[in-house]
Symmetry: C2
Amino acid sequence: MKDFFRDPAPVAEQSLPKGFKFASTACGLKKSGKPDLALITSDSAAVAAAVFTTNRVKAAPVLVSQEHIKESGGVARAIIANSGNANCATGAKGIATSRATAAAVARELRCPQNQVLVCSTGVIGLPLETDKLLSAVPSLVTSQSGTAATYESAARAIMTTDARPKWATASYRTGGKEVRLLGCAKGAGMIHPQMATMLAFVVTDATLTCRFAAHLLRDITARTFNTVSVDGDTSTNDTLILLANGASGAQPVRSGRPDLQRFTRALESVCCALALAIVSDGEGASHVAEIEVRGAPSDHIAARIARTIALSPLVKTAIAGADPNWGRILAAAGAASLPQGLSFDTSRAEIRLAGITVCRHAQAHPFDESAAHQKMLERHVPILVDFKSGRGRATVWTSDFTEEYVRINASYRS
Amino acid sequence: MKDFFRDPAPVAEQSLPKGFKFASTACGLKKSGKPDLALITSDSAAVAAAVFTTNRVKAAPVLVSQEHIKESGGVARAIIANSGNANCATGAKGIATSRATAAAVARELRCPQNQVLVCSTGVIGLPLETDKLLSAVPSLVTSQSGTAATYESAARAIMTTDARPKWATASYRTGGKEVRLLGCAKGAGMIHPQMATMLAFVVTDATLTCRFAAHLLRDITARTFNTVSVDGDTSTNDTLILLANGASGAQPVRSGRPDLQRFTRALESVCCALALAIVSDGEGASHVAEIEVRGAPSDHIAARIARTIALSPLVKTAIAGADPNWGRILAAAGAASLPQGLSFDTSRAEIRLAGITVCRHAQAHPFDESAAHQKMLERHVPILVDFKSGRGRATVWTSDFTEEYVRINASYRS
């Protein structure tokens, strides 16, 4: 909680999962000349699971990576990711570029092309300069190494409007073996829960089966990445990939085994840390709001309401101004579109803003305005809405809406 | 179209419907001391139809007015509306205040209490000072008059963060009689299509039946007020009221009669003008975007997509920056949540931005960036998305997202 709005602690060498290498370079896609190409490889074929965007408009690398995961049966050697260009809305040429990039990496690694996953992030609709990418691949592969410094550089190479790099680690011991997880992510705009948000890559030397990995990743995504929202915009490129190469030598993680809980907890902590890092690096964000809805008729209804509050520009601007304007929260809660017949009585609603009760029985509850304002100046603003109408609950994390958000997005391409 | 961002032309005396009077005053609800109470009365009992907010959290005046319309069978003598306080989330006391206000007006007019409709707009959650309201009513009623100047003052008295007053007129001749319509509205924030938006009052001396008026108003709301969006926030107080007193002496407007089309067209033109005035007065707005979706599998799908584009903060900030960033429009279109099984192929999508084709077959179409930027500096920005996948079409109007929007809303109450 204290780490919002700060760079993550450096990656310790001993927290690197075994059997992975990393590399990055500036291949010229970013006008700034900053690094824009990252590579993550596993020394051996790793179990690969992924969650992709739900947007009907899918970028070329999403289509190609979906195809590769399917063809390979959930096995991969490498992830190659570029920033600076999303390779989206680029038609057949864009698909060809993503395929050629995977092929170039596969050639260097001497593995099947479908064991290379491809990701892109950046501006939509500009042709991706294939030559720049392809000519950078051989030296990128040669330069790989398994050090924390190269990992951190790779995590920085996928940044676009991100102010800070994002990574997280976790580990546990089992049967005398150490199992490690290491994840990185990018994402500062077009961030919204209805999907696997942004780019995020988690590597682990745990031993997993393909089916189990796919199932677990979907499950954890729902509880982590899908509970954050920056702007409600669902990107065309969002991809979360998990690679598990078994190099720890630990027993396979499977249902019914004692390691299941340990691994699940470790993966969830990495995904959760990355998801929160994305929110606190939301474009122009000055606050992170944790919106908890309780006492709704069901978890599903609680989630709908929490998301509607998190998307409300009026709520998000009030948070930016540290304004304890709970009326906007109540109005947004009431506006959430619920499936027919699932409406319910909101007259018992209670609202706590930054720990201060501001509304009871859906009416003003006397509070010290200036004390509330002071509390809301803190960067983490917890908001609790309790409908006292059931056991349904949900939490959504969101950033606030600042003038800086508008400045960033009104001039992104110019 | 040319009149965006300007005050409306003064109301001409001859465009006032017969048999209505108006009044306004400053009763002390607004800290600024500006007028905050408006009264519209019909000399005789008028047919009254209304559309109210769909928000589950409904303000006291909405609940009371809904009750009155029901009890009276759709007949009213007066509308009393205050600004400066929404009388929402104020519990039983708030309801009592709205009832007492209606009763005070009814007493002066010597009509049943349920023939007075009550509206409030302003901050949510503060108790409405009943005494100030009630003590202002007698002199308010005494001061009424049927002049254009008093009407304009009344229209100004319902403003909150509105930069400009909003009114519109229409008329037509039938059987030697002149029928007139006159409408006013307020609304600059919490404006979103899923409802009858904001406060709007239309009075006419046409002769209507109650059932017909209610049906027609719902119908026209769908085509006018429900196609505009400022911020996607659905207010707790939104109310649109139509009063028709028959004072023109014209034949009743009914289905099957030749006047039906004339009256419908006139009412639609007034509602449309008011709806567009609300968008162009959106908080901080510098542009009005007209988002037209064509070639969708159905009108319903086209409307969902048009609304998703209109709500996208990334699209709205690009419009503020006059940035021809069509990729965000395509991404927002792809993100629209459609009922299961209603997804469709978006690969034929064509986008025209301010008249310039920027995307064909869902890919970049070469265009002159600086020419497009110049065109987008104009205050009306038409955006056309044609999916070439059917005959479904819809249009939504929205304002852009500017730094000024954030400034207004991050400091509203402080």
